[in-house]
């Protein structure tokens, strides 16, 4: 922000917004290259024997028959890895008291969830490896499993890890103001308990890795479907005792990630171990059943909440008890405490409420581990808050828009600190609410709803405000001593052809990173966006950085690329000045041409600069050394996060005979600051909304009472398909952040953050005349009919 050259660009259009993504063209022609598309002539494959039990001690493992199978190359258990691998613990210093046991690539001594990998079989083909798995014999002693949240925290509960003395992994309490007094003096107290169902990521491309270890140099190359090559480089080098520079992690095309591909999994670690053991490349690609059993799950919460209000509908306080079940381990290296932490801190965050008391209990269970996923914690905090607000509005006979208008943090209050400690630079709740009301033609919808009710048709309207955490600085992980970077880097060079190549530490998983980075480079250099080629996802070819998670790509990555582009432009103009026998400042770079700054007259092309600077240095004066490759790093400045905000609405119909919900319409008005690419922003929002709609209506990882996972196919775990989804209307308010030079914030979480909350509110609005209240998601037909007392 100190560079005056930056300011004039801030509110101008970013070049190339209307150009299709180059990656989209590749994929449309089937030219993507995903991990499973990578083949080596001597490739081996690993498959896993998995625990059939939720909780059981391993008495013995017999691998003899598997080893004897022709085509099997290697078989190993956790015991066989103690010489080449060190275990890990998913704890960070800023979650004091967090307990989690050591974890190995394979179950060590005891299996802690149904589907946990126990034995690895490496073979010439995946089919033979699976045949080998069928020949593994394990003797078990079954232990009592912990499945539900209530069961986990019951006083006489069986213990997932007896050594800890309880099933509590982590607890946290937040207090602000005088909650006791606020509830005592309140005119109205609303109270409810919500059960939010466990989900999974369901990326269409499953997890995968090809680990290729070269024993001659002790060098590992991993082709890994990951969002974060740098973190995985660090994990592989430290846990396998390799030199950091000898570990190269490459993310080829990644077929969806959404946070799920940030975490350390035993299968990928086993594939690396296998490659080290046999000195050949080894592939692991999860099949869909393995994905259901072993990808991280998310968002299993049981929340009891109370809200205190005045007669006028002013929210005075919230008191929240959030219990979440995370499976048997806090996931490495980001922990499984972050989701609950953010859920607890996001409660009531859009509102002026001054008093808050929140308690978080993070509990062990014998189910698949849960961890960070798109919109970490947001759907929980927002669903609970917005449910309470609607309960209060109904009790006070206030319109849902009106009660929110009366409570949102207003323009005059910024910068504002929430009772849970979030610093909000400047948000636009009032404008967003006003815009939404117009966009959805709220009075007409209410009239339509009333008219439908006359005909026995139950339609509902749900509204929800939200804030969204983006552009995280080191406060997320660095301060907890995680080796996860919050800075990013960009290496940018002028090619002899006059084209630009930029290697960036932000990664691409389909969201359009490479296009946005090319736009930023093109804008600040003064070249055509099609002349910028962006490289991502390779620890050996890009500067070190944080990569892509928590909506940090545009805000932090964009600022990084901007710095590199300004530096390269200065270098180019310096050489132009020498060649044209003037001062660098006499010239400018516009549309790929060196022009006179004063009159815009074209003097030479970038290709001509490239030709002279690389091949005809004999024509340059002595001691001129053209610096046409630059590197810049950028550290996020200011507040720990940049918050965005918005409001969503759902319009739907509930069939009270069948319990089926039909989504009729959905609206989002959001404010992510300066928009770098409108189409990509809108499609991030739409995809995110559908994630949220899925969690509200369909998606749930179900387990039996003995901890057997029941939803291991896409016919059992229902995900949103085109036929059930509505069109989604989007509008934007623009409040630029002063915290990043581009003024851009993130947008990847916004859609998911509040979509489920507004569906719950809309269903409860629809069923209000019948006296039914839904408190458990997903809102299955069965749960709706039960709430209606029909079954």
């Amino acid at each position: 922000m100190s560079d005056p050259a930056i300011k004039p660009h801030r509110y101008t259009e970013f070049v190339g917004q209307d150009k299709p993504r180059r990656n989209a063209v590749r994929h449309a022609y089937g030219r993507g290259r995903f991990v499973d598309d990578i083949a080596f002539a001597n490739l081996a494959h690993v498959a896993f024997f998995r625990s059939p039990h939720a909780h059981a001690e391993i008495l013995s493992i017999d691998t003899a028959a598997a080893r004897a199978l022709p085509g099997v190359v290697d078989v190993f258990t956790a015991q066989d890895l103690t010489e080449i691998c060190t275990p890990w613990v998913g704890a960070l210093d800023h979650f004091p008291g967090l307990k989690s046991p050591e974890q190995w690539p394979l179950a060590m001594g005891r299996a802690n969830w149904n589907g946990e990998p126990v034995v690895a079989v490496v073979a010439e083909s995946r089919a033979i490896a699976e045949d080998g798995v069928d020949l593994i014999v394990v003797e078990w002693k079954e232990l009592p499993p912990v499945v539900g949240i209530e069961q986990a925290r019951a006083k006489d509960a069986p213990l997932v890890h007896p050594e800890f003395g309880s099933n509590l992994c982590f607890a946290m309490t937040l207090k602000a103001g005088d909650v006791v007094a606020a509830f005592r003096d309140a005119d109205l107290v609303v109270e409810d308990t919500l059960d939010l169902g466990r989900q999974t990521a369901l990326t269409l491309e499953p997890r995968g890795i090809v680990a290729d270890f070269d024993p001659s140099l002790r060098k590992l190359t991993a082709y890994h479907s990951t969002q974060t090559v740098y973190q995985m480089q660090d994990v592989f080098c430290r846990h396998f005792g390799l030199s950091e520079e000898n570990v190269r992690v490459i993310a080829p095309d990644v077929g969806g990630s959404f946070g799920m591909k940030l975490h350390v999994y035993g299968e990928e670690m086993s594939a690396v171990a296998a490659s080290i053991r046999i000195g050949r490349p080894v592939k692991f690609v999860a099949d869909r059943m393995e994905s259901f059993l072993s990808d991280i799950h998310l968002r299993e919460h049981k929340v009891h909440a109370r809200m205190a209000l005045s007669k006028a509908g002013e929210i005075l306080a919230m008191d929240v008890d959030d219990a979440t079940g995370i499976g048997p381990f806090s996931v490495y290296p980001r922990t499984s405490a972050m989701e609950g932490n953010q859920a607890l801190r996001l409660m009531g965050a859009p509102y002026k409420m001054a008093n808050y008391h929140g308690r978080l209990s993070v509990l062990f269970q014998n189910k698949a581990p849960t961890c960070q996923f798109r919109a970490v914690g947001h759907p929980i905090g927002i669903t609970v808050t917005e449910h309470m607000v609607d309960l209060a509005a109904r009790a006070l006979n206030l319109d849902p828009f009106e009660i929110r208008r009366r409570n949102v943090v207003t323009k005059d209050m910024y910068p504002h600190t929430t009772p849970t400690g979030y610093i909000l630079e400047r948000l636009s709740h009032e404008e967003c609410l006003a815009r939404l009301e117009t966009l959805m033609d709220y009075p007409r919808l209410r009239a339509e709803q009333a008219e439908a009710r006359q005909r026995g048709i139950y339609r509902g309207i749900g509204i929800g405000t939200f804030i969204e955490i983006t552009n995280p600085g080191p406060a997320f992980y660095g301060i907890g001593n995680a080796r996860i970077s919050s800075q990013d880097g960009c290496m940018m060079k002028l090619e002899p052809s006059g084209k630009i190549r930029a290697a960036v530490s932000i990664s691409e998983t389909g969201q359009g990173t490479e296009t946005v980075m090319a736009q930023v480079a093109a804008t600040y250099l003064g070249v055509d966006v099609e002349h910028v080629d962006v490289i991502t996802g390779d620890t050996e070819r890009t500067p070190y950085g944080g990569a892509s998670w928590a909506s940090r790509g545009a805000g932090i990555g964009g600022a990084t690329v901007m710095q590199a582009a300004l530096a390269l432009k200065a270098s180019i103009l310096e050489i132009a000045g020498v060649i044209l026998q003037g001062e660098a400042n006499d010239f400018d770079l516009r549309a790929g041409q060196i022009v006179n700054r004063a009159d815009g007259q074209i003097r030479m092309s970038l290709a001509e600069i490239g030709r002279i600077a690389y091949f005809r240095t004999d024509t340059l004066p002595a001691n001129v050394h053209p610096q046409l490759s630059v590197v810049r790093h950028y550290v996020p400045q200011g507040t720990p996060f940049d918050f965005t905000n918005g409001v969503q609405a759902s319009y739907l119909e509930v069939d009270i005979e069948t319990g089926i919900v039909t989504l009729l319409d959905h609206w989002v008005v959001e404010d992510c600051g300066i928009i770098l690419n409108r189409q990509l922003v809108d499609e991030q929002i739409r995809g995110g909304v559908v994630h949220g709609l899925g969690s509200a209506l369909f998606e749930e990882c179900l387990y039996s009472a003995t901890g057997q996972m029941l939803t291991t196919t896409m016919a059992d775990y229902l995900a949103p398909l085109a036929s059930e989804m509505p069109d989604i209307h989007i509008d934007h308010i623009c409040t630029p952040t002063e915290m990043t030079p581009l003024g851009a914030k993130g947008v990847g979480e916004a859609g998911t953050a509040a979509a489920g909350a507004v569906v719950l509110n809309a269903v409860n609005d629809a069923l209000h005349p019948l006296g039914a209240v839904l408190r458990q998601t997903p809102l299955t037909p069965e749960r709706i009919l039960k709430a209606l007392g029909r079954i």
């Binding site: 299709p20 449309a28 995903f34 089919a127 196919t713």
Partner: protein, 163 residues
């Protein structure tokens, strides 16, 4: 090791011969023996639609059919539409509308869209949504895909029989 058996069929217009085991699916044959990786595998349960190909003129899940069943069949994958005007239009519309993000569902989604527009004149948005509801996409929320297919439908000359 499994015994292998000879198999001959038409792949994207050319006759090919391969030796396959009885448990090799069409998806695995295409991807891992032939090396045509445009056909993606998302579930191996017939649910996600990523591996959709065309066999003897009908859409088929390549993960649910064994290669050995396909003696003499005429198989068309994403790679077999290079000169197909409708597919070229669909690909352009998908990229212009950003109707794909990660690209993993795209080959199957394009084949489903192509199949619809080859059979139905001017489908409505609801009909498009129904038709592609056998293809799962986790990234886009579907609206952009519906838009892209709808746009191509609006622009195409209606030359189908009986239309």
């Amino acid at each position: 090791m499994d015994p292998h058996y000879p198999l001959a069929f038409i792949l994207n217009g050319a006759r090919v011969e391969h030796e396959v085991s009885v448990r090799t699916t069409l998806a695995d044959l295409l991807r891992h023996q032939i090396g045509q990786t445009a056909t993606h595998v998302g579930c191996e349960q017939g649910s996600c639609g990523a591996c959709t190909v065309v066999v003897d003129g009908r859409m088929v899940r390549a993960c649910l059919i064994f290669a050995i069943q396909l003696e003499g069949a005429d198989i068309k994958t994403s790679d077999g539409f290079a000169d197909d005007a409708l597919m070229i239009s669909l690909r352009r519309a998908f990229t212009e509308r950003n109707a794909l993000q990660c690209g993993f569902c795209t080959s199957g989604m394009l084949i489903a869209g192509h199949d619809l527009l080859s059979r139905v004149a001017q489908p409505g948005r609801r009909e498009i949504r129904e038709k592609i509801s056998g293809n799962f996409c986790r990234c886009t929320g579907y609206e952009a895909i519906v838009d892209a297919i709808w746009k191509v439908a609006q622009e195409m000359p209606d030359t189908r029989a009986g239309a």
